[in-house]
């Protein structure tokens, strides 16, 4: 069973299609780099797959659970949205403890995992209120919150935003470990070297449609780019990306 499977997944706002007929499959233990220009529909796709937004048409399962079943879905996923989903008036430790409790995690596991992850991400201010945090510290807390229950699938929307190089390196190491342990990582970012380094497969979204899906090396080769950035720019600045892709060998 694939970790993520969508079939004609569509989300329309009135007559505007944010995501149109999305068909994709992400296997367990894989990192899926989800790329696309601003407004392509990446965040909407993430919200659809995490159950936050209801699809207009089509179907999707994450860890075998229908995305319309938000209650069941939650146990299998972790989500790092672009804005850290944190209560500003709590401390990081209180936040992580509260959400772990809400998830129904064993209190002994929480006592073990939370301090370990806080230490790993060097969150020294874990007992200060989150409202006093920098963007990077909030992002670290958000990441820890998303992985503390060791989910089957982790969705990350611009996870390196605001992170210092050390923290970004830690995050990459953690994501690699998660993948190795069988977790599927669905990663959306504009920091292309991160995707290039981590992703097993890259999906390219444009105007709500999946235009390309391949491993990074093949994608670069097909689009005549030395780097992923070359390939991305080549594709997304074309006047008709769909035509450009259809011409792929």
């Amino acid at each position: 069973m694939a970790a993520i499977e969508t079939d004609g997944l569509t989300k329309r706002y009135g007559s505007v299609a944010a995501v149109e007929g999305l068909d994709l499959t992400v296997e367990r233990g894989a990192v899926y780099g989800f790329l696309g220009p601003n407004g392509a529909g990446k965040t909407t796709t993430m919200r659809l797959l995490t159950g936050l937004t209801r699809p207009t048409e089509g179907a999707a399962t994450v860890a075998g659970v229908d995305v319309r079943d938000r209650d069941d879905l939650g146990a299998h996923i972790g989500y790092v949205p672009d804005t850290p989903p944190l209560y500003e008036k709590l401390t990081a430790r209180e936040q992580l403890s509260a959400i772990a409790d809400v998830r129904g995690l064993d209190p002994d596991l929480v006592r073990e995992r939370v301090p370990a992850l806080l230490e790993r991400f060097e969150l020294d201010a874990a007992d200060d209120r989150i409202e006093t945090y920098s963007k990077g510290m909030k992002q670290k807390t958000s990441v820890v919150q998303a992985i503390v229950h060791e989910p089957d699938v982790v969705f990350l929307d611009e996870p390196t935003s605001g992170l210092d190089p050390n923290a970004a390196r830690t995050l990459k190491a953690v994501l690699t470990e998660l993948r190795d342990a069988g977790t599927a990582v669905f990663l959306s970012t504009h920091v292309l070297p991160v995707v290039d380094e981590l992703a097993d497969t890259i999906g390219l979204l444009y105007d709500g449609e999946l235009l390309a899906e391949d491993d990074p090396e093949r994608l670069k080769a097909d689009l005549d780019g030395e780097t992923l950035e070359d390939a991305f720019v080549e594709l997304t600045t074309d006047s008709d990306p769909a035509t450009r892709l259809r011409e792929r060998p």
Binding site: L73, G78, Y79, P85, V102, R129
Partner: protein
């Protein structure tokens, strides 16, 4: 940009944003139309005695008495406007830095400060001045003196502008003092409640306030208002003096506002930190949560404690709780102290206002009060039932013993008849259980971005949610409240009337509570971030 243009641009942009926000929301549009209409109808005399009747009094030869009423109303109105202005400025303009950050990095602080004051003044003038306008026109029609409307309309408009601008620096000053002393959030809120208390005090003693101020230059406001009303002895020189004096005050206020805005916006703001006392790291275990988790599922206990903790650290979240308490005070004053009812009316007043207060906090906007954390909560796998139950429990656990206990205590004090005490106890129990569920059922219809900003990043439920919730609670409470009222008015306890009245309220409250719970759960289940 140079001169006054940046301030004009800031004002125009902020007003445009406010206008579009109002226009694009049916509820906001309705509120912006309903408030001025409500006050206009009251003040003009379209319903009950009002300005039109004062005009008739004028036309019937009672010119001096009519003028005196207008002068007194102007003075007490000016004080009320000033109090409202200080409250608005303290919570609004003085914390507007975040909203104006694009302007603050593009133009001078002076322009932004002046623009923000102009915006605030324009908004509240648009909200409340139409009532004064309607009253002025109604007076002129009643008095059959069209010219009278000129100074009443123009003068009242000027009073709104003056009150708006002059109170702006007081708001900034209040903010500066609060931050300077690093008062706790609860202490700050206590000060706000005191201001609200002062507002009600002036409202009830407006006649006396008007008399006291009539001996000061503020009374010249009456001359400004009455300068085109013939035969009432308004002195044009005093009117001009008031105009010139307040013009100077407006200019001075703007200068002080700019100075204080710089101090408030760029000063170091105290920010909350958890104090562990001995520097040790707090344990993850929370005794309250552990106790709760022994009687309810752990996720429910965690959410209840989380809600309490956040409310304790952001008491402003409970903004609508405090007016509900004041509503109780006003009801007590109007019905018993100044009204025809006996003290037997106090227990249902305590029950109704206490229940109203209980449901007026975070349950009025269960999605919005989650803030940025909402996606985290919704993707945590917690069920909608758990969310709704935990929010309701967070209200009922402290609210029920407080409201029912206070109601029973007051009932025993005023009329220890067993049937009466049992009836008002049941009345309180039904209402305080209904309160959080009704507000939740309503609140889930408000998307997270529909709340109002109460200074800084503190958001409170939409005003219309509070209004609809209050009306719903009052509708359910009416039979029981009325049946106690019959006893409190006649002094004779009719068991049948009391039992039927309270019984109807209890039955309806139970039915609505059940429906509200199911509805809130279903709406939350179907919730989709759009």
């Amino acid at each position: 940009m140079s001169g006054g243009r940046p301030a004009v641009v800031v004002t125009r942009t902020a007003l445009r944003q406010t206008y579009r926000k109002v226009r694009e929301s049916t509820r906001m549009t309705a509120l912006f139309l309903a408030i001025p209409t409500f006050f206009a109808v009251q003040l003009s005399g379209a319903v009950g005695p009002g300005a039109y009747d004062v005009g008739r009094q004028f036309a019937g030869g009672g010119g001096e008495a009519a003028a005196e009423r207008i002068r007194t109303a102007a003075l007490s109105g000016l004080v009320l406007l000033s109090l409202m202005g200080v409250l608005g400025a303290a919570g609004g303009n003085s914390e507007f830095k975040d909203r104006y950050v694009a302007f603050l990095t593009a133009t001078s602080t002076r322009a932004v400060a002046v623009g923000s004051v102009a915006r605030q003044t324009a908004v509240w003038t648009a909200l409340f001045w139409p009532a004064a306008f309607a009253a002025a026109v109604a007076f002129a029609i009643g008095a059959e003196k069209p010219l009278a409307a000129v100074s009443l309309v123009g003068g009242s408009l000027w009073l709104f502008v003056v009150a708006g601008v002059v109170t702006a620096p007081l708001g900034f000053a209040a903010r500066l003092v609060l931050d300077g002393y690093d008062l706790s959030k609860n202490a700050r809120f206590g000060l706000g409640v005191c201001m609200l208390g002062a507002f009600y005090l002036v409202l009830f003693t407006r006649e006396y306030v008007g008399e006291v101020l009539s001996a000061t230059p503020l009374s010249w406001a009456g001359d400004l208002l009455l300068v085109t009303v013939p035969g009432v002895g308004a002195d044009p020189a005093l009117a001009a003096g008031f105009l010139a004096g307040t013009l100077g005050l407006v200019g001075l206020s703007l200068v002080v506002t700019v100075y204080l805005a710089e101090a408030v916006w760029y000063g170091d703001r105290a920010r909350g930190r958890e104090e562990t006392g001995d520097g040790s790291i707090p344990e993850l275990d929370d005794p309250v949560r552990e106790v709760l988790a022994s009687v309810v599922p752990r996720p429910t206990a965690a959410l209840v404690v989380l809600t309490w903790r956040r409310a304790k650290r952001t008491p402003k979240m409970l903004w609508y709780v405090y007016p509900a308490v004041f509503v109780g005070l006003v009801m007590g004053e109007q019905l018993v102290y100044s009204g025809p009812f006996s003290t037997a009316m106090y227990p249902p007043v305590v029950a109704l206002s206490g229940s109203l207060a209980a449901g007026s906090g975070f349950t009025l906007n269960p999605l919005g009060t989650e803030g940025d954390a909402l996606p985290g909560l919704l993707t945590s796998g917690v069920s909608s039932e758990t969310v709704v139950r935990s929010k309701a429990l967070a209200v009922v656990l402290p609210g029920l013993p407080l409201v029912v206990g206070a109601t029973l205590g007051v009932a025993l004090g005023v009329s220890p008849l067993p049937l009466f005490v049992a009836a008002v106890g049941g009345f309180a129990l039904a209402l305080v259980t209904l309160a959080p569920l009704l507000s939740l059922a309503l609140g889930v219809h408000y998307p997270p971005d529909s709340e109002g900003l109460l200074g800084g990043s503190v958001e409170i439920p939409n005003k219309s949610a509070s209004v609809i919730y209050t009306l719903g609670m009052v509708a359910v409470a009416t039979p029981g409240f009325g049946s106690v009222g019959v006893f409190a008015l006649s002094g004779r306890l009719d068991p049948a009337t009391l039992v039927v009245g309270v019984g109807v309220t209890a039955l309806v409250a139970t039915a609505v509570s059940l429906w509200a719970y199911r509805h809130a759960v279903a709406e939350l289940d179907a919730y989709s971030v759009e």
